[in-house]
């Protein structure tokens, strides 16, 4: 027999259920910030699932900073109070699956900030890496090959030059997913590759001259197709939001 498990925003339904149970348990026991959660074994028994499932759920909540497991001691509730905890868990459980459009939209403003910070803060070494990435992209494109990878690496080099590790990490998590979806959605036409070289060049120039405003403008230009792609659907979302 084959059991199909639905996976939404990285949470399968079982995990959701467990997280929800943990939440009600924290509520019913009036556990305060810093207090200890019941042991994994106890939770497993009480909720009626295996200990492994409990561990997964705890790990998920830990990744949001809501819990903290201490080896050989216990799992503790973070400093956030119960109100924040409840609110956050509710939002996590109800978070819709990130769709392609929201990813693209998010990527755009991440890129904008990325390139701005890069223009302001890049080191000589950063610039060298960016120019190398541009060169790789150029040669690959001019030789008529696919250059999606080199494009990705170019943008990631800029993110690295932003000297904002947090932003850099967000770019690293979001961009690859978009890239792999690109072909599927046919957003990018192949004849755009040549003009994209020029666009990349002016972006690098803006970074080199430490002109964040110009850099922002050029990256917006570079993403104009994606931008329109978002905007087209934005109206629709507005309409939906109005009812």
């Amino acid at each position: 027999m084959k059991t199909i498990v639905k996976v939404v925003n990285g949470l399968e339904s079982k995990e959701k259920m467990i997280i929800s149970e943990i939440k009600t348990l924290i509520d019913s026991k009036n556990l305060e910030p810093g207090e200890k959660l019941p042991s994994e074994r106890l939770l497993a028994e009480k909720i009626g699932v295996t200990r492994g499932s409990i561990r997964n759920a705890i790990q998920k909540l830990e990744s949001y900073g809501l819990l903290k497991s201490m080896p050989q001691s216990g799992t503790f509730i973070s400093n956030l109070g119960r109100a924040a905890l409840n609110g956050m868990i509710d939002q996590i459980l109800n978070l819709p699956e990130p769709d392609f459009k929201s990813l693209v939209e998010t990527r755009i403003f991440l890129e904008i900030n990325s390139v701005r910070f890069a223009a302001i803060r890049h080191s000589a070494e950063d610039l060298e890496r960016i120019e190398q990435a541009l060169e790789d992209y150029r040669t690959k494109t001019l030789s008529g090959n696919e250059s999606v990878e080199e494009d990705l690496l170019f943008h990631l080099a800029i993110a690295q030059a932003s000297h904002n590790p947090s932003l850099n990490q967000l770019m690293l998590s979001i961009t690859p997913q978009i890239i792999t979806d690109f072909e599927k959605y046919h957003v990018c036409k192949s004849d755009m590759a040549l003009s994209a070289i020029k666009e990349h060049e002016v972006i690098v120039e803006a970074i080199r001259t430490r002109n964040p405003d110009q850099a922002e403008l050029m990256i917006k230009e570079h993403f104009s197709v994606l931008y329109q792609y978002c905007y087209k659907t934005k109206k629709q979302i507005i309409k939906e939001g109005n009812n």
Copy 2:
């Protein structure tokens, strides 16, 4: 005997080593996108660690969309080519630990976009939630209590109203960590709570009247203290970046 394991940006040194080994293995075997990785058991033996460690490393790479494990079948390399794969793994391994300032800086532009989208797209239900969050914050503050939690929930309500699940998720991951660090760094003075109510009110007003520009202005105003906090250090980073 107690072995201390250094943890940097969520990757302990052992995990880093394993990821690095996997990378060189993919390189040396000339594995193409879509091809299958050697089995976990084989990797474990070859690298000389336990299978559990291998699983952790794979899971990490999976979270970045570089690998994809299929039950009872194998772990596959994503559609990204080897160049992108190598570049991304390098960046992941060298990613500096996100410091408080970079988190704050990132939060600010996440909030800016969040409030802009909320102003454009919020539903009646969203607005209701935001106003409720504001009310909770007001009563808690006016009664002289700590209201950090209610502040957090207010901002998360706005993120939810942005109707961008991707952005919403980033906000959920980044904000709590900042909140818990707040007291440590003494960024927020307690006498600001009262004026913060007013600031929250004008933000809500801008959202209600669907004025994204005004909303952005008001949220910037709201974060001006944090903004200065960032700016003060930005100069320093620029200087560092110039050498």
